[in-house]
């Protein structure tokens, strides 16, 4: 059971501590600086923070003592000559760090970093240095990658198969899903079944927008995806995707998706009205849960504001630990449920925009 939460916000990194049913801010780090993503590497205990200084560029920091001290690591850099997709007119530089993820348990020095404009970086020295995964970057289909909410494509999802560390699935927003089974030597596009209403051919092979992808911990062949154009699920590790959006209900557009640790049929999403609006459906904050692999969805609203709410949840803004769920919102509110989403309580409010929440 986790007793701490890492919150990456528009104005710094917060560590919340659980005391009974309450969660309180224990410490603040990088005051005033946007923290796009933060996580603790379960293999080493190191906390990582991705920073996005408005003036001074993107940075990576790590702490081996629960945030008491931080060390700045040289942020990933695109190599000389790299140009930005899709038109390759401008130099590629690290304009945003979307997330940092640990490698497999059998490769304790490996870390992955997903960046804008679409580069996946890898470290094999515990994060001291990062190199661009050129095999992915040089995919011929990268001329179908482009910006969505941000100006340029970004690697926003990185999934390492717990059974085989050489099997990695990533999501590029906007670009689609790519899979390697040989540690990154080769990549295969995995967009079959996805739908993109902003493309001339909505079922095109490339150019899809997986906002966030999660694998089921209990069966890593089962992948879940909150896409720009619906919610999708795959039972064959991405070879085929099935649209599981809700007919006549709110489950369609959104950013995060969270999966039950024990049941591959259970997941949660945070719906919003689609691209042009990006506000909660009917201005009512709602989390939706499926318990049957996406055949049906249930609205979970108890304890959440049902009028005049403009909070939405960003793609790394929801997490789960056993029966406890958390999400942080664009309006700086953090909600926790200890009963799998049936009821919620606001544990802190009036923060800056929340980019990421992680139990640690």
């Amino acid at each position: 059971m986790s007793n701490k939460l890492l919150l990456g916000t528009r104005k710094g990194l917060l560590i919340l501590n659980k005391n009974g049913a309450d969660w309180a801010v224990e410490s603040e780090h990088f005051e005033g600086v946007p923290v796009s993503h933060a996580m603790r590497d379960h293999r080493t205990g190191v906390i990582w923070a991705c920073l996005d200084h408005g003036h001074w560029g993107t940075k990576l920091h790590r702490s081996s003592d629960e945030g008491a001290t931080w060390e700045e690591i040289e942020a990933p850099k695109y190599p000389e000559g790299a140009t930005r997709p899709p038109d390759d007119k401008d130099p590629a530089t690290t304009s945003y760090i979307w997330l940092i993820q640990p490698g497999g348990d059998d490769e304790p020095n490996r870390l992955y970093v997903g960046t804008e404009p679409g580069g996946l970086f890898v470290s094999d020295d515990g994060g001291d240095t990062f190199q661009l995964m050129e095999t992915l970057w040089n995919q011929p289909s990268r001329d179908n990658w482009f910006g969505g909410g941000r100006d340029h494509p970004g690697v926003c999802s990185i999934i390492v198969d717990p059974r085989d560390s050489r099997h990695v699935t990533i999501g590029i927003s906007v670009g689609g899903v790519y899979e390697t089974v040989d540690g990154g030597e080769t990549w295969t596009v995995r967009n079959k079944g996805l739908y993109a209403d902003y493309l001339p051919n909505p079922y095109a092979e490339f150019g899809h927008d997986p906002h966030f992808i999660k694998a089921s911990p209990s069966n890593p062949d089962v992948l879940w995806q909150q896409n720009h154009c619906g919610v999708f699920r795959s039972t064959d590790r991405g070879q085929n995707w099935t649209n599981i959006s809700q007919e006549g209900g709110p489950v369609y557009f959104g950013f995060p998706i969270t999966v039950d640790e024990k049941d591959e049929n259970v997941a949660w999403v945070a719906p919003a009205i689609s691209a042009e609006y990006r506000i909660p459906v009917d201005r009512a904050l709602c989390i939706c849960r499926t318990e049957d692999g996406g055949k049906t969805w249930k609205d979970l609203r108890v304890g959440l504001p049902q009028t005049n709410a403009y909070d939405i949840v960003f793609r790394h803004g929801m997490d789960i630990d056993a029966d406890t769920l958390v999400f942080g919102t664009t309006a700086g509110n953090v909600y926790v449920s200890d009963d799998r989403g049936d009821s919620w309580r606001c544990v802190t409010q009036n923060l800056a925009v929340v980019y990421s929440t992680r139990f640690i």
Partner: protein, 90 residues
């Protein structure tokens, strides 16, 4: 020698940052020189291609540099160089 002054905002990341004199013929050489003194400082001023970050300004004397890509603006002896934070965002 060119005389380099920094926005005090950079002292947050480089607490011992002070004015410094460097021997440099271009602004690019200035950035290299200050990075040699404070390792990692260049990453705060320019991106990985050496272009000036969007929200950073460098002045040679009273004049903004013209070449923000290569930082080729000439620096002469006794020039004052100011590395400043741009007033972006209001």
């Amino acid at each position: 020698m060119a005389h380099i002054k920094f926005t005090p905002n950079l002292k947050r990341f480089f607490p011992d940052l002070t004015e410094i004199e460097v021997d440099a013929k271009t602004v690019s050489e200035v950035v290299t020189a200050v990075d040699n003194r404070w390792r990692g400082l260049a990453d705060y001023i320019v991106d990985e291609k050496g272009a000036l970050r969007k929200h950073v300004n460098i002045f040679v004397g009273d004049e903004l540099i013209h070449d923000k890509t290569e930082l080729s603006d000439a620096v002469s002896a006794n020039t004052k160089i100011y590395i400043m934070q741009a007033l972006s965002g209001g």
